[in-house]
Structure formats: C-alpha cells, structure tokens
C-alpha cells in the first residue's frame, strides 16, 4: 500500500517537520524538542552571537569577578591585574569541575579547582597542576604534558556603554556591526555617559521555553491587552507617539513610546495629560511622578539583543534582563535594576517606586511571568500545529505602529537562519 504524505508532514534529516517558508508561522515543536534545545546551545549561544554577561560596574577592580552563563554554559568574567576584563568557561580543564562556586568575588589572585587544585590565572590560563612532578620521583604528570595545551575555552568580550557581552565564537562580528546603528544609538540613549548603580537583583524562574519569553518581549501587540494596570487605573496618556525598530537581520528590536507634544497641544491637553475614565484610581498617584530619563520625551523603550538580552526603560525604571535557558521548559530571567551615580536622592526614590511596575511582581510585567507557561501548557498536544503571526503583515520591518508582530517575526527570521532551519531559502 502506498500513501502520500501531505506537504506539511515532510521531514528533515533530523526527523523534524520542515520549517515553514513564511515568517508568519511558527511550529510549536520548536518549543518542545530536546534536540532543538541542544542545537540552540551549539548554534546560537556558543555560536557567532553576543550574550550579555554582566555590567562593567559589577567588576570594577582587579581581582573582581562574576560567574554567569552563556546559554547553559557556565562562565567567569574577571578583571585581571592589567585592568582588562577576561571571560572564560567556568570549567576546570582537568576533569570538568566548576572553578568558581560563588556568584561573585573580589581580590581573587587565581582560580583553583577544589577537586585536584589545578589553578588558573585571572585570564583563564592554566598555571599550575598539583603534584605535577609527583612525590619523591613517583607519579606526577608525564614529561610531555604542557600547561599551555589545556584550559577552559575563552570568550571574546565586548564592553558597550557599561554592558559586558561575550561570545565563544571568534568569528562573531564586532558588537557595533552586530547591533547596527539604530540599536546602538538607543543603547547609548539610556546608558551613554552615565555610570550605572545596581539597585537590586531578582531572578524569575519561568515555566516555559526561553523563546516564549523573547517572543513576549518583542511583542508590542499584547502590551495593552494582557497588562491591564494602566487601563484599569485610567492612566492613559493621550498624546503618545511611538513605533518599533527591527534590525536588518530581524535579530534585535526596539519598541518605544514618547510624549507627542504636538498632539497634546492640538488637543488642548498641554497641562493635563492624564485622562481618567475609569472606576478606579490610584490612592497614591505619585507612583507615576517621574522625570525625563535622559532629557528627551521618550517614556518607554524596550530593546532586545538576540539571542537573550533586554534593556528596559519604563518611565524611570531602568533594568537589564538576561534570559537563560534552563532546559526545554524552563528559563531563568535575571533582572538587574539600575540607577545611576548621577541620580539625586529624589530621583533614586522615583526609581525604587517605579520598580513596582516591573519584575516578578510588576504591575505591568507579572503577567509575562505566567503567560509563557500558559502557551507551554496549551501546546502540549499540538507539536504539529503552528502559531499565527500576521498582525501588521508578513514582514519583519520597522513600523510606526506598535499593533504589529513584526519584531516577533524578526526574531524567527534570525532564529531560523542561525539554526540553519531553512538554509537555502534564507540566502
């Protein structure tokens, strides 16, 4: 008996259904498969991409270090005595144990593995092997053993306005080229010329695949629908303009909104820019009494860097988010809330208050913690079905409307290229 498979059932050499040609469809198996997870670690996180590691301000002095991850690979970022930053795998070259066990440290002179005391310089070079020459002429490493031939893999680092990025792939483009001018200028807008101060760090454990969180970050369509806080309390600014910027590769994006002075004036709302037609109002409206973050009219700027970084300015709540896959259905979301050395005490208080908007308990972000899980659970029996991304058309281009899924399509454009899912057609 012969049967003809429908076109959609065509399988690739990995035994997976073929990736759709159009950017408006995303097959659900991409959030469910262990083989996909493994290839992401190899092709994206350890591939020619930049991953956010930490803030330069978190490793200011020689001997300061932080441990973090590139995807699920543990890494160390350290400032050596020469004043430079170095990044390398947090893995002993001997038998693979972690070299540093703490989240951070200072005054480090070297890293010594607790297992067999192999030791490394602050640049990640193997400098010593315990009992290398044996004891009383017995044992020890063979004469041909060469320290220089062994060591954890090193990262290429790039520091951009105080953000430290790393890549395991020497062939990754320079960070400026990787991001492009439009994204660069918007990072500079928030961080340029200022010294960030950490106000707090929180981790959210998300019950879903990491890509569902990245889709959410890039999805400007859901904001006013899922997050009802502003609507419920009648906090709608009348004169707003905004838009989204999608980088050429689709990989990175910015979504922003700003006060539209012209529209406000035309509507006669110059001194009354809050409209309230709601049954509810805030008992303490000072939550939203902020200041112009960098002297311009932009009140919101969400910026993502592929594969897993977000820089956020929501009014005066500035934060970086690091998205780390922790298995097919688990993601760590690391929030670092920022202020700046230049802040006045009043400005600092505004930042602490407005941090209520974001994070694991954020008025306009707590839903993002659970909605990825709703998708992960919703698609449990639907591996062969696809998500529909047609809002705002089919392209992954910048737009002045935020009622679009263009930057989500951009993510998938970059993803399928990086994962070689549609090699021939992407070229």
């Amino acid at each position: 008996m012969t049967s003809t498979l429908p076109e959609s059932s065509a399988k690739t050499e990995q035994g997976r259904p073929e990736w759709p040609e159009e950017l408006t469809r995303v097959p659900y198996w991409v959030f469910q498969r262990q083989d996909v997870y493994r290839e992401e670690q190899q092709n994206l996180f350890r591939g020619p991409y930049w991953s956010y590691l930490c803030l330069e301000a978190e490793v200011p002095q020689p001997g300061d270090y932080r441990t973090t991850f590139v995807g699920d690979t543990p890494v160390i970022v350290c400032r050596d005595e020469d004043g430079e930053l170095y990044g390398f795998e947090n893995r002993c070259a001997h038998r693979g144990a972690l070299l540093a066990l703490d989240d951070r440290g200072s005054n480090a002179k070297d890293f010594t593995c607790v297992y067999h005391a192999w030791s490394y310089s602050l640049q990640g070079d193997l400098t010593g092997v315990a009992f290398k020459d044996g004891i009383k002429g017995q044992g020890g490493m063979p004469k041909y053993f060469c320290l220089e031939d062994h060591g954890p893999r090193k990262l290429r680092l790039a520091v951009l306005h105080g953000l430290v990025f790393g890549s395991f792939d020497e062939d990754v483009p320079d960070i400026e080229e990787y991001l492009g001018d439009e994204i660069l200028s918007r990072i500079e807008r928030v961080l340029g010329g200022r010294t960030p101060v950490v106000l707090g760090r929180f981790t959210q454990l998300l019950p879903n695949n990491w890509k569902l969180y990245m889709e959410n970050v890039k999805d400007s369509y859901h904001a006013s629908i899922l997050h009802l806080f502003f609507t419920t309390f009648g906090i709608n600014r009348l004169g707003q303009r905004g838009g989204i910027v999608v980088s050429e590769s689709g990989a990175h994006h910015v979504s922003y909104s700003a006060i539209d002075r012209e529209a406000e004036q035309d509507a006669g709302y110059s001194d009354q820019n809050i409209r309230s037609d709601s049954d509810y109002s805030l008992a303490d409206p000072s939550l939203l009494d902020g200041f112009s973050e960098v002297g311009d009219d932009t009140t919101l700027q969400i910026l993502s860097v592929f594969p897993g970084f977000v820089l956020q300015q929501i009014q005066n709540s500035v934060a970086v988010r690091q998205i780390l896959p922790r298995g097919v259905e688990s993601t760590r979301l690391n929030w670092t809330y920022l202020g700046f050395e230049e802040d006045t005490p009043e400005q600092r208080t505004v930042r602490l208050k407005q941090a209520n908007l974001v994070g694991p308990a954020g008025y306009i972000s707590m839903e993002d913690g659970c909605v990825g899980g709703f998708v992960q659970r919703g698609i449990a029996g639907a591996s062969d079905e696809e998500a529909v991304l047609e809002m705002g058309g089919a392209s992954a281009a910048s737009s002045e409307s935020r009622v679009t899924e263009a930057s989500v399509r951009g993510f998938w454009k970059a993803y399928r290229e990086g994962m070689h899912l549609r090699q021939e057609k992407d070229k």
Partner: protein, 158 residues
C-alpha cells in the same frame, strides 16, 4: 525605664492575624496591619546583605499597599492560588512602651488550582512595630526571602 507593654504578646497576636488575613484571601484587609507612614518591601537575602535598596514590591506609605491590593483584585492577571504562612516565634530585638523591633522566620507554601503545593518562599520579616493600646501596627516590614529566585511570579504579598 521599665517596659510595661508585653511586646511579644502584641506582636504574636498581630502576626497571627496578618498571616490569617492573607491566607484567607482577605486582601483588602491587609493594608490595615500597617501604619499610614509605613515602609514595606520584599527583597532577597543577597540584596539585603549587599545593602541594595530595591524590592520586588516597594512601598513607602499605606496608600501604595492599597494600590497593590486594587491592582491584584482588578487589574493583574495570574492563576488563582492561595498561600499558607507558617510563622516562627518573633524574636524581640528592641522594645519600649511605644513599639518594638522584631524578627520572625516564615515559610510560605503556594497552593495552585491544580492542587500542586510548593514551598514558594522562606525567609524572615524584619519589623518595626508601633503600639497603640492593645494593638501593634507595622511601621516597617522588610520581607527578606532566603532565595533570590521567585517561581513564575509573585502576586499575593508575603
């Protein structure tokens, strides 16, 4: 000066009612455990030991706590769940007739609608109470969670 108020009794009583209020789901009564000019924040042991000021919830007056409750009841979206607070005995760190400073360990189990019950948070309350007759109200509660990780989201207060 002799202290005539039994701080331990007043605080124990207030905390028993506080936990029962949240666990029974009477969110609208929760701000009533605080003074008008209170401070409340939820942070982690790591932030606390580093002296970092931010919280996942941060309020410098009782109206902000009322707003938190209104948002939870009217605006925010999360799956239905309840807490079970298990509190230790308060350690009284400082006391006078006007008030006291205390520290109390807690364990909070989160029960979801599908029946799963997980330890959601453990930690300690670092409190400043003010006494008013036979009642103790919180002038400050810093909720220091032992872990720096929060599962999924934090909706109901601790």
């Amino acid at each position: 000066m002799t202290v005539t108020v039994d701080a331990f009794r007043l605080i124990s009583r207030a905390q028993g009612e506080y936990a029962r209020c949240i666990d029974d789901g009477r969110m609208e009564d929760w701000p009533g455990f605080f003074e008008e000019d209170c401070h409340y924040r939820i942070t982690t042991a790591a932030n606390h030991s580093e002296g970092l000021q931010a919280g996942v919830i941060w309020a410098d007056n009782r109206r902000m706590l009322s707003d938190r409750v209104s948002a939870l009841l009217e605006a925010n979206i999360y799956e239905a769940h309840t807490y079970r607070h298990i509190l230790g005995q308060p350690a009284i760190l400082e006391e006078s007739d006007e008030g006291a400073r205390s520290e109390t360990g807690f364990l909070v189990v989160r029960v979801m609608r599908d029946g799963s019950s997980d330890i959601f948070a453990t930690g300690r309350y670092l409190d400043r109470y003010r006494f008013d007759g036979d009642r103790a109200r919180l002038a400050e509660r810093v909720v220091v969670c032992d872990s720096s990780t929060i599962d999924t989201l934090l909706a109901l207060p601790l």
